[in-house]
Amino acid sequence: MLIPHPLLGLRDAQEFTYLGDAALLNRPDPAAGEAGFADYVYLRDNPAGVHRELWFHEQGDRSWLVVTRNTLTHEILGAELARDVKLGGTA
């Protein structure tokens, strides 16, 4: 696969480490308690289709990216710096 790195262009996915659903950006407040954290840590939409997900450019610039990818076709629809997504509040 090729990941369209927003700063570096197309890079082979082998340079990246995958984490999972980009919902992991939305870490709950401690007030959410165990139940809130259990949802965050364990439950996934796991869609067959468009999926926003986190990739780490471990063998590259060490950026975490939010990649939008179709899990049925592997087509990639876009990639953003996770930091920008988080700061922009669009996670």
Partner: protein, 416 residues
């Protein structure tokens, strides 16, 4: 009519005219006591055990494609009961005991071949952790042997003992482990269940659940509505998709695991060998193909196919472990859809929807579990209580913190 060597001879002499369908293709009835969603190994085994052990015959298995077309027909056929944790090991040992009488129980030769599995040891620390695991196996009667380097070398002389990046220091062996013919398992269960009256309905895709007042009433399908007293879902990699139709989110991600087979070769590999340090495991099929695999690709996928880096990684592992396989050729590679759970262990439980039961989260280990999974899921569906060997496979264990994490990898499915 039963299968036997005698019958094969008789049919051969009379032009094979007497062989009938292995199973019927019935039209779906309006209502069943129990509907199983998923005509893979686990679904078919569940139906078989419902009929065989629990006297439930008004049972249908709904399969969206052709029966046995999912992971049961695309795995690397390994059977073993070499687990560490008490939540897992008795269950897999139950499965192993079923495997040992599979042919006789089903009157179908699924070619269970107990030629052993060896997990290679590369360091003292790994030997310690395998000793802990081997003792769990001993304590459940599964049996285990800790092999030193010399014993191992006698058994599998062709490994790279002398110039390895990860030196081979021994192995943990389960002699009762081995392989079975994957398609044969699906067909064996399908035929036996069908003979006991279970309706196996192929090309019937479930498109929704009918839930009234928190109670499941039946399923909408591509072949119309089918009423059901209870619905059991056993759809492996499609778990997320199917359970979402009942409004449930799961601690599961779907991932792709690739598997590989070489051209046919005369016998070389005596049993199953797994090389954890190099992410490679291998056995040889009855037809002579070397069947091997490695890690999952590592990203969420429903595509049933993988990519080159893992293929190269697996082949590298193979070459590093046994450089004599270099001139064998990869014939075919394919991908299966793995229902990777958050702690690497399965879920067999009731759900918040009354009458809806779930069986999934098998990661890449579903094949070996097929008989026990069918047995305990049937038990749950029939009795509403978990089977003794499956009490830990609860859905709420994640929220409550009772994880069954063999690898200690935490809530990241692609690390299990």
């Amino acid at each position: 009519m039963g299968f036997s060597g005698f019958r094969v001879i008789k049919e051969a002499l009379t032009g094979h005219k007497g062989w009938g369908p292995l199973w019927r293709d019935p039209a779906p009835r309006a209502q069943y006591d129990i509907v199983i969603v998923g005509g893979g190994g686990h679904g078919l085994a569940t139906a078989y055990f419902l009929a065989k052990l629990y006297g439930r015959h008004r049972v249908a298995v709904l399969e969206k494609g052709w029966l046995g077309g999912g992971n049961i027909g695309r795995n690397t056929t390994i059977i073993r009961s070499n687990y560490l944790l008490p939540g897992n090991q008795p269950f897999y040992e139950l499965s192993m005991q079923h495997w040992e009488r599979q042919e006789q129980d089903l009157n179908f030769n699924s070619m269970v071949s107990q030629r052993g599995i060896i997990n290679l040891i590369h360091s003292d620390a790994q030997r310690d952790s395998f000793r802990r695991r081997g003792n769990s196996m001993m304590l459940t009667g599964a049996g285990a042997r800790l092999l030193d380097r010399d014993e191992l070398r006698q058994m599998v002389p062709f490994l790279n003992y002398d110039n390895a990046r990860f030196p081979i220091k021994g192995g943990l062996m389960q002699t009762r482990a081995g392989t079975a013919r994957h398609d044969g398992v699906a067909w064996g269960y399908a035929r036996a269940a069908d003979q006991m009256g279970v309706d196996i309905i192929q090309n019937c895709e479930v498109t929704g659940f009918r839930i009234e007042g928190g109670q499941v009433r039946g399923v909408e399908t591509s072949r119309g509505y089918i009423g059901a007293g209870k619905v059991g879902v056993a759809v492996a990699g499609s778990s997320g998709r199917v359970m979402a139709m009942a409004g449930l989110r799961l601690p599961i991600e779907s991932h792709v695991l690739q598997a590989f087979v070489t051209e046919g070769l005369k016998p070389v590999i005596p049993g199953v060998i797994t090389f954890g340090a190099g992410h490679f495991y291998i056995s040889q099929s009855d037809k002579g193909g070397l069947v091997f695999g490695g890690d999952i690709d590592g990203y969420n996928s429903y595509a049933q196919r993988g990519n080159l880096p893992v293929i190269e990684d697996v082949a590298e592992g193979g070459m590093a472990l046994m450089p004599m396989i270099g001139r064998a050729r990869l014939l075919r590679s394919w991908g299966g859809l793995m229902d990777m759970s958050m702690d690497g262990s399965p879920i067999i439980d009731r759900t918040p929807v009354e009458g809806l039961y779930f069986n999934g989260g098998w990661c890449y280990g579903g094949f070996k579990a097929t008989p026990a999974s069918g047995h305990v899921f049937a038990h749950l569906l029939a009795t509403d209580t978990p089977h003794d060997t499956a009490t830990a496979f609860r859905l709420d264990r994640f929220a409550r913190g009772h994880l069954i994490d063999e690898r200690g990898a935490g809530a990241q499915p692609n690390l299990h």
